[in-house]
Amino acid sequence: MSVKIVAAQQKMTAYLDGEIDHHNAAFIREEIDNAVMASKPEVLKIDFDNVTFMDSSGIGLVMGRYRTLSMYGGKLIVSNLSPQFYRIMKLSGLEKIAIINKREK
């Protein structure tokens, strides 16, 4: 599992790579939160294009980052979800609080 964070002006993108489960969610959370709290971007995009597995820990991860961003009025975008991940995200009603996009074919 790895996280690559790219920031340009007020937009930050976190590219996730590998499997998201309870075991490695804490690591991803720390990486993203450290970067977000350091620069408080207006928009945080979490990119799932290279994620190969995700369970409900992925929802917890996204909901937690939504809370972090809400503290200062930042906006969250979740992008490149596979149909499977999109199904998991929809279970949580996340689409009501963040922009969630499916993977482009």
């Binding site: 489960d21 075991h23 959370r29 597995f53 995700m54 409900s56 917890g60 499977q84």
Partner: protein
């Protein structure tokens, strides 16, 4: 339902084992020749059940997780995930979407994901004795022909 093959394993409730257990169960179920989506469904549901054992059943200790998998005629997969942990006092509440006793980073969707990705989910539990989660998944497998 005739069992074609079955498999048992025991894993310690360490989070590093989550990926190992779901990967192993999925590899065993692959004998039924399921679709990639069915394999992903099985992996996700098993991951939720095993995570529950680690986060809830054995919240303050490391215990054993007992896994049993049977593949049956007609492409049916039966997975039992059992622990001897704290048990669930109110199963109905535990299965309610968004309910969690963990707070913070846990979404409270473990059982909702299992129910969404499997055909049947049975939960038996006794406080102080442990919990058994049974997952039933139908696959479009062709095992009965081969």
């Amino acid at each position: 339902m005739k069992i074609l093959n079955e498999f048992r394993m025991t894993a310690e409730s360490k989070s590093v084992n989550e990926s190992f257990v779901r990967g192993t169960v999925a590899a065993f179920a692959a004998q039924l020749d399921p679709t990639l989506e069915e394999i992903a469904d099985i992996k996700t549901a098993v991951s939720e059940a095993v995570t529950n054992c680690i986060v809830h059943a054995y919240a303050h200790c490391v215990g054993k997780i007992y896994i049993y998998v049977a593949i049956c005629e007609g492409g049916l997969v039966k997975i039992k995930i059992r622990d001897k942990g704290c048990g669930i006092a109110d199963i109905k509440q535990a299965r309610t979407p968004l309910f969690t006793t963990s707070g913070g980073e846990r979404a409270g969707l473990g059982f909702a994901v299992m129910e969404s990705f499997c055909d049947k989910v049975y939960v038996r539990s006794k406080v102080g004795c442990g919990t058994t989660v049974t997952l039933i998944k139908k696959t479009g497998g062709r095992a009965e022909n081969g």
